[in-house]
């Protein structure tokens, strides 16, 4: 079974790839968008996790 982090990585990879192809046409633009979106997903997920931490307990 996947851990939360592994599931998050798979989600970010799949959605970033799809969005890159949906919104961009040139190969370079697609790669740049994919990488930006992927790391943004991870960063925001970790940030939201820490924001919720004080109220989680």
């Amino acid at each position: 079974m996947f851990s939360h982090f592994q599931a998050m990585i798979i989600f970010a990879l799949a959605v970033s790839a799809a969005f890159a192809f949906l919104t961009k046409r040139a190969s370079g633009e697609r790669w740049r968008y994919f990488l930006w979106a992927f790391f943004a997903f991870l960063l925001v997920a970790v940030a939201v996790g820490w924001i919720m931490y004080p109220v989680a307990r």
């Binding site: 079974m1 996947f2 599931a7 799949a14 959605v15 799809a18 192809f21 949906l22």
Partner: protein, 152 residues
């Protein structure tokens, strides 16, 4: 103040009207039909709409992305909503899940152990499967717009 004289309408010739109006109408109807077929195909099998439109890279990526989300969601024993849940959230969940087309139809065969939302993994799986469906609906819209000539 006198109005400018109206210019007489010139008869349409191949130089002034290279595409006859009848052909333009037929071309527009053909594009609409292709857009409909691409959209339905893309809903039933993720990426198939783009394959029909000869957008090979997009077809592969969209199929891979939707498949990854749907299969991981099922593997994590997420819930797949049925159409007759009786509440609005269940209905919304069904609409999202059904967006994944063939993955929705075979979900019960693939998920032999059934859903398990008592654990966090099952909850994540539910969301991932719904994300697969919603993402595929975006891909369907993309195929429709490409077929209509609004996108490259």
């Amino acid at each position: 103040m006198s109005e400018a004289p109206e210019t007489p309408e010139l008869p349409k010739t191949p130089e002034t009207d290279p595409i006859p109006e009848a052909d333009r109408r037929e071309s527009a109807a053909g594009r609409e039909a292709l857009a409909f077929v691409a959209a339905v195909a893309g809903w039933v099998v993720p990426g198939l709409g783009h394959l029909i439109l000869r957008k090979w890279g997009r077809a592969l990526v969209f199929f891979g992305s939707v498949a990854a989300l749907a299969l991981v969601g099922l593997y994590m024993r997420g819930n797949v909503f049925k159409p007759d849940t009786g509440d609005i959230f269940g209905t919304l969940g069904f609409l999202a899940d059904a967006g994944s087309g063939v993955f929705y139809f075979v979900s019960h065969s693939l998920q032999k152990a059934g859903p398990d939302i008592s654990r966090a993994a099952g909850d994540y799986g539910t969301r991932m499967f719904a994300a697969a469906g919603v993402l595929n609906l975006l891909c369907v819209l993309d195929a429709h717009e490409i077929a209509q000539g609004r996108k490259g």
